[in-house]
C-alpha cells in the first residue's frame, strides 16, 4: 500500500474549456472503463456464487457417501473393515479439501469488494468535482468526467489477475 496521499496527486487545476464533443468522449471513456471493471466484478461474483453452491452440494454428497460406506461396511462384516476404513478416510480427505471453500470464496469476494471500493471512490470524487453545479456548469462536468475516466482507467489497469487458480491449490513450495 502506498503511503499517505500527497496533494500533488490531486487532479490538476488546468481547465481549458471543453466542447460538448470532448465532454461526450470523456463520458464514453469513463463508462467504458467502468463497464470493464463491472464485468470483472461480475465474473468474480459469479465465480463466488458457483463456488458456494458447488461447495454446498459436494459437502452434502460427501456426507452421503460416508453414510453409504458405513452401511456397506456394516453389511460386509469383519473382513470389510479395513476397506471400509480406507474408503472412509478417502472421503474425509476429499471433504477436508472441499470444506476449505470458505477461504477461496473470501478471497474472491474480497477482490470484488476491492473493485467496488475503488470504483466507488472514483465516482464520488467525480461528483464532488462537478460540485453543486446545478445549472450544468459544462466545464466542471467535462473536467470531472476526464478525471473519472483517468482514474477508472488506472483502476482497471491495476486490477489483480482475479480469482485464485484452483489448480494452484495444494501447491507447496519450500524455500
Amino acid at each position: 500500500m502506498k503511503g499517505p496521499a500527497k496533494r500533488n496527486d490531486e487532479p490538476g487545476s488546468a481547465r481549458a474549456r471543453m466542447t460538448p464533443a470532448e465532454t461526450a468522449r470523456a463520458a464514453l471513456a469513463a463508462m467504458e472503463a467502468m463497464s470493464e471493471i463491472l464485468q470483472a466484478m461480475a465474473a468474480d461474483l459469479a465465480q463466488s456464487r458457483k463456488a458456494l453452491a458447488a461447495a454446498f452440494q459436494s459437502i452434502a454428497a460427501r456426507f452421503a457417501q460416508v453414510h453409504s460406506i458405513a452401511l456397506a461396511g456394516e453389511a460386509g462384516g469383519a473382513a470389510a473393515t479395513a476397506d471400509t476404513l480406507h474408503a472412509l478416510r478417502a472421503v474425509v480427505d476429499a471433504l477436508t479439501v472441499e470444506l476449505q471453500f470458505e477461504d477461496t470464496l473470501g478471497q474472491r469476494l474480497g477482490h470484488a469488494a476491492g473493485k467496488i471500493d475503488a470504483a466507488g471512490v472514483a465516482l464520488s470524487e467525480a461528483r464532488s468535482l462537478m460540485g453543486g453545479a446545478a445549472d450544468g456548469d459544462a466545464d466542471s462536468t467535462g473536467h470531472a468526467l476526464t478525471v473519472l475516466a483517468r482514474t477508472l482507467d488506472s483502476i482497471r489497469n491495476a486490477m489483480d489477475p482475479g480469482a485464485p487458480q484452483p489448480a494452484s491449490g495444494g501447491a507447496i513450495e519450500l524455500f
Binding site: V97, E98, Q107, P161, P164, G170, I172, E173
Partner: protein, 121 residues
C-alpha cells in the same frame, strides 16, 4: 513426547480442521486466532512448528513471520505459510520475511502431514 504445533488463523473452522488433522496424526496442537496471540504464545513456549494464514483480521502472516524470526527461539524454527495467496510477489515477500515454506489452500491433508513430518522429523 509428541511434537507441538502452533496454528494461526482467524477462521475457527480452519483451525478446527487443522487441529483435527494434526492431532489425528499424533501432534499436539495449540491454536492462535491472530498474530498478537501467536506471539504471546510463542513467547511462553517453544513450538516445533508454526503454521500460519496470511490474511487475518488481526494482521497478516508475513508480518508475523518477521516478528517471530526476531525471537531467538524461533530464529530457525520451521514456519509454514498456509494461505489462498499464490502470487509470486507474495511468495517472495514471505520468503524474504523468513518463511520456511508456502502452501496454497485448499490443501490436501496428506500432503500437509508430509510437510509437517518432514520438518518435525
Amino acid at each position: 513426547m509428541s511434537k507441538a504445533i502452533l496454528t494461526v488463523d482467524d477462521s475457527a473452522s480452519m483451525r478446527q480442521m487443522l487441529a483435527f488433522i494434526l492431532k489425528g496424526a499424533g501432534y499436539e496442537v495449540v491454536q492462535a486466532t491472530s498474530p498478537d496471540e501467536a506471539i504471546a504464545m510463542a513467547l511462553e513456549r517453544e513450538f516445533d512448528l508454526v503454521l500460519t494464514d496470511q490474511n487475518m483480521a488481526g494482521g497478516d502472516g508475513i508480518s508475523l513471520i518477521g516478528a517471530l524470526r526476531k525471537l531467538p527461539a524461533y530464529a530457525s524454527k520451521p514456519i509454514i505459510m498456509l494461505t489462498t495467496e499464490s502470487s509470486d510477489e507474495m511468495k517472495s515477500k514471505g520468503r524474504a520475511a523468513g518463511a520456511t515454506g508456502w502452501m496454497v489452500k485448499p490443501f490436501d491433508p496428506n500432503r500437509l502431514l508430509e510437510v509437517v513430518r518432514k520438518f518435525t522429523g
